[in-house]
């Protein structure tokens, strides 16, 4: 595990928040994912050693939550809502547009390494469906045209880099 010094200090601090070390499993996993971008294979063992657990106890947690990623993702994470309101108002088409724009499939890193598109459960903005989250930013009423526009924007930013 190659974590930043500030992540390590946050980890040591967050462990003190709980009466038993085991309770810090989820916060630790979040911190590692924020730092690395995903949870590398040795996460279970590292966290287990840190919290005096067995690696299998941590692996059980990691595999339960879909939001813990065990593989690297693209530079940006595009999460398209698939739940009812968004689905009714064209969420599936929005999702397909992103996939076509970046020549990728759900859950995979696009060939240019720029994005990973995921079709996720409710993003809690049903009134402005269909919605898309790109990293931590919510985009509302994303129809195919707006999806294309967002994709172009991402590509343009990638060009500049």
């Amino acid at each position: 595990m190659n974590l930043k010094p500030e992540t390590l200090s946050k980890i040591d601090e967050v462990i003190t928040h709980y009466p038993t070390k085991r309770s810090a499993t989820l916060p630790l996993l979040h911190l590692i994912q924020e730092d690395v971008g995903h949870l590398p294979p040795d996460t279970s063992e590292w966290v287990a050693a840190k919290l005096e657990l067995q690696p299998i106890n941590v692996l059980e947690v990691i595999t339960f939550y879909p939001m813990f990623r065990q593989k690297p993702i693209g530079r940006r994470h595009i999460k398209v809502c698939r739940t009812l309101s968004c689905a009714l108002l064209g969420g599936y088409k929005t999702c397909a547009t992103f996939e076509q724009e970046f020549h990728t499939h759900l859950g995979e890193v696009s060939p240019d390494g720029e994005v990973t598109v995921d079709f996720v459960e409710c993003l809690a903005s049903c009134g402005t469906a269909p919605v898309v989250m790109i990293d931590d930013e919510l985009h509302e009423k994303v129809d195919c045209a707006k999806a294309k526009q967002l994709s172009d924007q991402i590509k343009a930013e990638a060009q500049k880099r």
């Binding site: 067995q54 106890n57 692996l59 595999t63």
Partner: protein
Amino acid sequence: MIAPAKPDLVTVNIDGQEIAVPKGTNVIEAARLVNVDVPHYCYHPKLSVVGNCRMCLIEMGMPAVDPATKAPIMDPATGKQKINWIPRPQIGCGTNVSPGLHVKTISPMVKDAREGVMEFLLINHPLDCPICDQAGECKLQEQATGYGRGYSRFVEQKNVKPKRTQLGPRVTLDDERCILCSRCIRFSKEIAKDDVLGFVDRGSYSTLTCYPGKKLENNYSLNTVDICPVGALTSTDFRFKMRVWFLKQTNVIDTESSVGANTVVWSREGTIYRITPRRNDEVNDTWLADSARVLYKAVKAADRLAATETIEALVARAAALFKSTPGAIAIVGSARSTVEEQFFTRHLATALKASAHLVSRVGQGDKLLISADRNPNVRGALVTGLIKTLPAQQLTDLAAQIDAGKIKAVVAINEDLAAAGLTAAQLAKVSIVYLGAHANATSAAAKVVFPTLTVFEKSGTFVNQQFRIQKTLKAVPAAAGATDDLVVLAQLVAAAGGAALPAELGSLWKVIAAEVPALATMTFANLPETGLVLDATPYAALPFVEGETLHYKPAQPAVAAATA
């Protein structure tokens, strides 16, 4: 009004039967006491309660009392106190008894609950009972018959999961059969202290797995197979070998250490197929070490000895040998022999006026079911008077006597003298009479060899580290060309000029009871299944090697006790 019968007992009513049970008993165990079966999968009496299978749902209620006055509310129809039934089923495993608790295990609600749980459990369970090793001893199979709805409404696709994962060297996992009871996970964590199993991908695809890169390879891994209520965890050794209903079960004692774990030997037509633990809450609970389960392979081992002469001819040769070396005979008895054989060995030593030696085997105890003393019956030798002090690891005394020419013949019973420290030259110096089941350096050097039996081919008793005398029974017939140790020893005693002793256990125990004060009240037939604890006080000063194991704490050293 139901009053507790004793302070620590709680009276409960299960399906109309009243019973007083100890505080802290759960409903499943209380129901067992009145012969009511509460079906369950995840609950195991020796593991923590998790309540995740939901099969043990029961209806429960408490006697009604007036909230204000606390006076019992009577039911005018029956004249008894009214019972307030909880309108939803409760889990029996997680419900401890409380005074006056009423339980219904037969009611429409319970029936519905069981059928519902069974239906869910069977959704993803493959219908491969015809090729499944668990068939015949499968809780899912039994309870689907007993409590299921009888037909399936499931028309969707079943989950596909790994079919033959090697969890370790001895355990194979079929994940499709797993009903996610988590017994194996709790066993590994709580008893074996090797927490490597867990559920990953929890949800519709929950999968039992071992942590990648680790293995379920501790010496207790096969207990997970025993406690698996379905055919998910199977023994790699026993897999696809034999249908369990064809097998005969015999109660035997594990001889790998002085713990004396209780086992069941499963055999058919003289062949042993597997060994499983037998519950004894005072000795091994429901567990058994993996190493104890392969001991049966010694029965059909390639190095088994077989007689080429009749036993009479062999005894005659031994008798001639005894006559030619009067007063220069030593006996090496065994702490692996049964109490009866040790009793005979003592008689042989007396008849030959020979000194008796024993060989100790000390290893590392695992604090669970393998003690430091790898001899199963050192205490038997003490009780029968064969030895007075604990045996030494090496036969240095005997070696010195042989070198000095004081000993010209050795009777070795079940012990390899070479392994106990005698050199080939020393073995060559003496005439050896060997009794044993397997070939070794001693049998090769011996003048007379009596092929005898393994523990699975004979009945007898062993005294374990708790001074508990336990019975082992003959599981399979004697191998061809081998004779019961007792028969051989009885004839040798007679040949040495000793008293005639019966080799049949029933008559023999009358002799033993008459001669050994500690066993005076015992007979082989009335020895309880769980064994009988003998008085250990005469031996309190001996420095036994055992450390702490399950249900055994070494006694305080005599010195410490005196100063305390």
